[in-house]
């Protein structure tokens, strides 16, 4: 049975998930606080900056009820620095935003997507998980809140090209049974690369299927006969 959609998420779905990210707006009209499923929103009082989910911020922006404050990393200076890092380091992505230190008590530490990585007080030197989608959507809906939207668009495109080229180069390091380090990769990049990288891994596994089968047989023999305690036991368990 052929499914109509490829595995993973489509770009519109990824963009939809991105819309729950908090962004900072400067309201131009008063708005009562809203009790939403995702949590209560503070009342909007111009001209106080308020964090809002992206979807609501985009809505208010389109109705000209609010102005956006772009996150610090979405500025010409930061993007140029990150782009430099990406072109200098051939095989790693620029590191993701640092996580806050774990709380001392037993409470669970916050991790993405529950960190505000795109509000006005986010880190300036790192691309968050949803950088591409958020950047594109903000530049599209609120280009008048940026100083130089065209340069920003160009920088985003440049970043995307460099990083996708790295993602494509990953396949040369792939193995049928190995892992690959992809720290700092973004949601849209995963969505775009998933089908291809998955296809390569499937192909490699098919080629090495006979070796895998042999290993399984050997492992089963060892399970039945009890472990012989040889040095390469560990290796085979990893496989």
């Amino acid at each position: 049975m052929a499914l109509p959609l490829p595995p993973g998420l489509t770009p519109p779905e990824i963009a939809f998930l991105c819309e729950m990210e908090l962004v900072t707006v400067i309201p131009r009209q008063r708005l009562e606080g809203l009790d939403l499923l995702g949590g209560n929103l503070r009342p909007l009082n111009p001209p106080h900056r308020t964090p809002l989910p992206l979807w609501l911020a985009l809505l208010l922006k389109r109705q000209r009820r609010a102005n956006m404050v772009p996150p610090p990393w979405l500025s010409q200076h930061s993007l140029e620095a990150i782009l430099d890092y990406e072109t200098e380091h051939d095989d790693v992505f620029s590191p993701p935003p640092r996580l806050p230190s774990a709380p001392s008590n037993n409470a669970l530490a916050f991790s993405p997507p529950f960190l505000s990585s795109s509000t006005a007080d986010a880190a300036a030197d790192a691309l968050p998980y949803h950088w591409l989608e958020l950047g594109e959507m903000l530049l599209e809906a609120a280009s008048d809140d940026f100083e130089d939207p065209d340069t920003m668009r160009k920088l985003l495109r440049g970043l995307r090209e460099v990083r996708m080229a790295k993602l494509r180069k990953i396949v040369e390091k792939l193995d049928a049974d190995g892992g690959v380090k992809m720290n700092g990769i973004g949601a849209m990049e995963i969505g775009e690369g998933r089908a291809f990288v998955g296809g390569v891994i499937d192909g490699l596994r098919k080629i090495a299927a006979s070796r895998e089968q042999q290993r399984k047989d050997r492992d089963r023999d060892e399970m039945e006969n009890g472990f012989s305690g040889t040095a390469d036991d560990d290796e085979m368990e990893m496989a």
């Binding site: 963009a15 599209e140 996708m164 396949v171 296809g199 390569v200 490699l204 098919k206 080629i207 006979s210």
Partner: protein, 141 residues
């Protein structure tokens, strides 16, 4: 058919005849690797995987390789095929993201892809197209 003669059989038939040795005492046939996986081809792949026309050798080159590897125990062939697939996939990805690649200098390479690789090209191309489509979509809103 005379004993000791060499003939070409379909893979399924050759496989069955070769594996039937447990019933009789001696095997009916012994298998040689098919010409698509001859040492000459493997050497060419080792030298430069990107210039070999896999499609001319066998339309399902990798699937054939996987079947043959079930019959023969050849560690080296696994290595060569895996490396070939990896380095060719990298080129495929570049071609899939580069819309004019299919017409320009990459045309020869694209014609030489086997079925698995074509499938891979199609998926890579589709996902790149989907992201581009989304980017033009948000501009219309």
């Amino acid at each position: 058919m005379k004993q000791g003669s060499k003939i070409e059989l379909p893979l399924w038939l050759g496989e069955m005849l070769a594996l039937s040795q447990s019933l009789n005492t001696s095997s009916l046939v012994t298998l040689d690797p098919p010409s698509a996986l001859a040492p000459r081809v493997l050497n060419a792949l080792k030298a430069d995987p990107r210039t070999v026309d896999l499609r001319a050798l066998a339309p399902h080159f990798y699937n054939l390789g996987a079947r043959i590897l079930e019959l023969f125990e050849e560690e080296e062939m696994i290595e060569v095929l895996s490396d070939t697939f990896k380095s060719r996939s990298a080129v495929i990805a570049d071609q899939a993201h580069n819309p004019r690649g299919a017409l320009g200098e990459g045309a020869d390479f694209m014609r030489g892809l086997d079925e698995n690789e074509r499938q891979l090209f199609r998926t890579a191309h589709d996902s790149a197209k989907a992201v581009r489509a989304w980017m033009t979509d948000i501009k219309k809103k």
